[in-house]
Structures are given as C-alpha cells and as structure tokens.
Amino acid sequence: MLLADEVATHHPVLSDNPYQPHMARIVRIYKMVENNHLFTLRFLEDRLAHSFRHLPGQFIMLSVPGVGEMPISISSSPSRPEVLELCVRRVGRVTNALYRLKTNDVVGVRGPYGNGYPMQEIMGNDILLAAGGLGMAPLRSLLWYALDHRDRFNNITLMYGAKRPEDMLFREELTALVDRTDINCLLTVDADPGGTWKNHVGLLPTLFDHAKIDPLHSYAAVCGPPVVYKFILQRLLDLGFPKNHILMSLERRMKCGVGKCGHCSIGYKYTCLQGPIFTYWDAINLPEMI
C-alpha cells in the first residue's frame, strides 16, 4: 500500500510530469498490410532516444497533436533500441489522423507503461507465442527479445495466423524465420485464394499439431481478437498449462496510461498498471475480464 505523501521512487523515464508527451519524429512508415502500417519513431531529443528502455509487452501513449492520444504497444524489441516501432491499425479518429501524417512529421510519445511480460520468470523456459491478426503487434517485441537473447530461453515456438497471406503482419520478417532452426515458426492463413502461400493453411489452432509443447516448462504468450483467446486458451488448458503460465495481453479503453483516468479498470485492477499482461488465473478471477 502506498502512503499519500510517498515520493514516487520510480519516475517514468521521461519526466516528472507523467502526462508530458515527448516529441518524436516519424522516420519511416511501412505499409505492411492495408490499414496496418508500421511506424518507426525516433525521439527528437537524442538523450531520450538513447535512454528509452522498455520491456516486451509494454506500451506507450501516442499523441497525434490536435487530435488525441492513444495506447499503442511497442512492437520493437528492447534489444534494438534508439527507435520505436509501432504497428497501428487504422480504426478511429486518432489512428486516422496518424495515417494522415508523413515521414518527418512529429508525434508525441510518453511511457513506457504497463507491466510487460515477466521476463525474469520466463527465462530458462520454453516460450510459446500464439497470435492472431493484430495480436502480433505486442508479441513481436517479445519474439525478437527472445531471439536476440537466444541463450536465455529454451525452445521458442511461434504460432501466428492471419486471414489471407496479404493480411499477415510482418510477413517478410516472419517467413524468413521459418527456415531457422532456433525457432519453430508456424504461420498459417485461413485461406489462400492466390495460391502463393508456402506455409500452413487452416485455422490457428491447427498449428498445435506441428508444435512440440512441454506445458510444465513453458510460458504461453497469447494475443489476438476474442476468437483467438477462445480457441487457444482451451487448447492450452487441455494440454495442461498452469494457469499462471498463460499470459494474455488485454485491451481496454485508456486515457492516461498511468492509473488515474479510470477507464481501463477491470474490477479492481488497472489494465495500464497491473496489465496489460495478465495471467489466465487473473483473467478468470476478474469480472468482465475478456
């Protein structure tokens, strides 16, 4: 419990005003998939660019000046600092405004926020990353973190599904992983009308047939739309995964990112403080969690 006048020991990296956005330049806009662009940002201030550190699974609050602010997961790995990569889907006002910006325009960034994945706990174990659709955005950070520190993890398995090949985020990057031996990279599409897809075709859960899983020594990081949770979680439980080895990244409305504005509250937890990464055990014990 915190005392009222307790001076915060852990200041956000960026400043004393946790709401202060710091200006960052859009250095690259990569059109991965229609309406799912990858934005690469670099802080205008070199000091910030050098010192910004985050954990996989954390997010930032991204401001498009004059329009608004929103939470966006950091898709780049902390092992590759200096720039931030954000995979943003165009859905509403602020995301639309972001899509109107061009390379060299500036946006505001503050963070990182959220708990991130419990890396200390995961290390030394197998990791199973399971994502559908946009769920790859937060998992990509974890993926590259693990690959860049390969010796700290046992087996790494990625299961990622998209509707069609052209909907697959980070497609080039991920297909390049398929042939690597230090990761079991399983990619699937629901359908392949063009007939060019060289990987799996079928729904995401079918990938379990191709994965070797040792539930008691594994952590599973799952992210995606509700259907993904529905099917993947059931399979993991059937396999005998401990409930607190299943890690989910939850989405809630957010206005502050720092546990004040109240919007992301679930029962008695704040998604922005105690989340967005929750264990499955937390999930079933919190009302209206998923």
């Binding site: 004059g66 329009v67 006002r93 405004a97």
Partner: protein
Amino acid sequence: MGKPTVGIFGLTGCAGDQLVILNCEDQLLDLVALIDIRDFLMASSENRTDCPLDVALVEGAVLTNRDAERLRAIRQRSNLLVALGTCAVWGGVAALDRGADRSQLLEEVYGEAGHGYDSSHAQALREIVRVDLNITGCPIEKEHFLAAIAALLNGDTPVYPSYPVCTECRMQENNCLLMERGLPCCGPVTAAGCGARCPDLRVPCIGCRGPMADANPVSLLEVLEQKGFDRRQAAARLRTFAPEGVA
C-alpha cells in the same frame, strides 16, 4: 491543398443555425479567409449553385418536396454533409407534427388554398440522405461550429459530449430543479454541450439539443409521474425537439 469549398444551406427552419454562423463576429473574417464559401444564399447573392463542395452545412428540416429535392442535390455535389441544428438532426419543433393529420391542419389554417401547398410531414436530413456529421442544438453552439470547422480543416471530425445536460449541470454545481423544485427538467435525457444553459439560469431544460444517445426516458417519465405530472404530457414534453429517441 487549396481552401476547402463550403456551402451553407437552409431548408425549412428558423435560420437560427445560419444566424449562429453570422454571429461568430470575432471569427467571421478569419473564417472566410480559411474556407471558400461558394454558396450561402442568406449572406450572398452571387452563388455557385452547381459546383462540387467539400463541405455542405445544412440547416432545417425537410418539409416540402422542394426541400427534399434540394437536399438530394446538395448531397450529390458535396463530399461531406453536415446536419446543422436540431431540426436537421432530429426534425426539431416542426416534427411536433408526428401523428397529426397534416392536411387537416393545413386546411384549418389556410382553408381551401392549403390543399395546393407543397407540404409534407417533417423529416430529419438522415431520413432522406446520408449525413456525415451531426451538430445538434437549437440553435447550435457557436463553439461547436467553430470546433467543427477547425477539425475539418485538420482533416478530422470534432468530438462532442455524449453525456446528458444533467452532467454539465452538476459540474456547474447548480441546485437540481427536478429534485429540489419538482420542475419538469429534461436535462437527464438531453444531449449536453450547452453548458446546462437553462438549469444554470434556474430554468428547466426543455431538451432543445435533442436526446443523448444513451437516454433512459422511461425511467425519467416514472420520476415525473411520481412528481405529479401527467405521463402523456410529460412524454410530449420530452419529445418537443425530437420525435424519436425519447419515449
């Protein structure tokens, strides 16, 4: 990009929303420097009635075939159509005619001549064409209009409050007219944005901004009934400015 082309139109109404635009005395000259007003019959006699428009601002309800035809023509030539004011958004006071026999009312008033008039029951714009943005209010708030133009110039759309007048009234720390004085206040079901103008002046809200999206009029009516109001009359009061959305 050049200046966006804009048309300002009035269908059947009181011209209050167009007047609010002209009432932006401090911003008017900046405004005409930022946007290219091509068609504004109320303010200019040289209008381009056929050119394409980036934005059409349309006030008033549809009450005649002529209104409907004009509206369709405006929609055709405009990229973005903005409904201006409660009449355009909800039908406004003209829509008090829902359920009334129009031809009988016309005859009552104009006698035989009334039958010849081009006259139909009041409709909101979205009942005829697609509407891209609704700015409600009877009349609209100046600030909302200016915010809309500023946002549109920025390629964006404005955000207006989605809670009721009641919320603003509480923020202003007014004495509640409904609870303290038993007055028939429509604040709990009316879309905020006016700063609770009326209750702030100790005058019960009559709902001139139309209903808020999440209104619960049935519950409010029950309260009004408990306070001694006739249910039918109270329901009619909640419907003064908008025929739908409210009980």
